[in-house]
Symmetry: C2
Subunit: 198 residues, 2 copies
DNA sequence: GGGAAAAGAACTAACGTTTATTCGTGCTAA
DNA sequence: TTAGCACGAATAAACGTTAGTTCTTTTCCC
């Protein structure tokens, strides 16, 4: 009867959620079974239910953890007295950093949120819509100030968000450049692509 | 006993594969059941097996149809006597066009290939790796010719491919700009971001 | 052209698995 | 000693798929 080993200051539930993130990333939410998860945790499937309510709880825990971090950062950036282009760069760097250091959770949130069930699903979709509008607003401000070239803001948002999620491939690749180089390269391409031609 | 209605010159299997693409996009491969698919087609689940061998056949049919189209276009572009930057622009426009006009299939191929089973899985992963290397080679040539700014080519590839897959959001959005505008905007940002500063 | 034979495509019923989850019991750390 | 936690066994529902049968369309010979 081997107990789940916790990190110090971490609950057993935390261990399960964390292993779930890895598993959901590898196989997808639907394809990852509770028996798979149990094996990864080192315990029988039934035992998981001493710590969590359901499989779906694991998903929405993951998703909203990530979503909250992003909203919090957005609050911070919006209130800073810097140019729109600088805001975009800060935001981009944050997204990149999250994707590098909290890979599993962020990736799962991005790809598996469809499997949330209401009310979490509509709640999440709402948050997402609002978040994108906030990015678009920064871009539109930059266009008005002629810092950013005049292009459709929602299109920029879409390129931005998805380009960052490409870091997934970087994680998997064998001969990686360093995280710092990766960040620098992405910023170079995307922020330069935004700049108005003077 | 309602038969599956075919387009002219199309088999019943084609109808099933096409509906499967839509369903796999909406719910994901694993979450989409054969009973769901049967309902979409207008028939009982068992009847599907008069036309297809298995659920997984549907997936690899979709995936390799798409993959082959991309490889073919790559062959064509590689052999053209144009600059690297022009090649990248052509490739980008092709990716965008595919994503706009063959949305369901392309999207499914991109997101659900993990659920392929061997030998299709390793085959696909191979093709994918080669394809990315071919893009990287174009970029590296452009860097040597000083058309493209000196950045890590694999990073560009990653941004490139994922940015395009962002068109998914465009499809879903309600107040869309036109397909032409979308294409123009994406080219503006990405190709401009590549250009060497002279 | 009309009618029998063959082929195609649908049905219902059931199969064996796998799924997430619950229950009651007993071990073990605090 | 008690509360927490892991266990094996069991559940119902859903899954992909097969079997056997029936209906419908096409093919082909007279």
């Amino acid at each position: 009867m081997a107990r789940i080993k916790t990190e110090k200051n971490g609950s057993r539930k935390d261990v399960i959620v964390s292993k779930a993130a890895t598993l959901f990333r590898e196989k997808g939410y639907k394809a990852a079974s509770m028996r798979d998860l149990a094996e990864a945790v080192g315990v029988e499937a039934a035992s998981l239910y001493n710590h969590i309510k359901s499989k779906s709880e694991l998903l929405h825990e993951l998703v909203f953890n990530v979503a909250n971090r992003f909203v919090l950062k957005m609050d911070e950036i919006e209130s800073e007295p810097i140019s729109s282009l600088q805001k975009m760069e800060k935001l981009l760097r944050f997204h990149i950093s999250e994707m590098i250091h909290n890979y599993e959770e962020v990736y799962v949130s991005d790809r598996e949120w469809k499997h949330l069930s209401d009310p979490y699903l509509s709640n999440y979709q709402n948050q997402r819509r609002v978040y994108r509008k906030r990015i678009a607003a920064i871009i539109e401000e930059g266009i008005r100030n002629k810092e950013i070239k005049a292009i459709d803001a929602p299109t920029v948002v879409l390129i931005f968000l998805h380009a960052v999620s490409g870091i997934e491939s970087w994680h998997r690749s064998t001969k990686k450049i360093s995280a710092e180089e990766l960040e620098q390269n992405m910023v170079a391409i995307l922020i330069d692509g935004l700049k108005a031609n003077h």
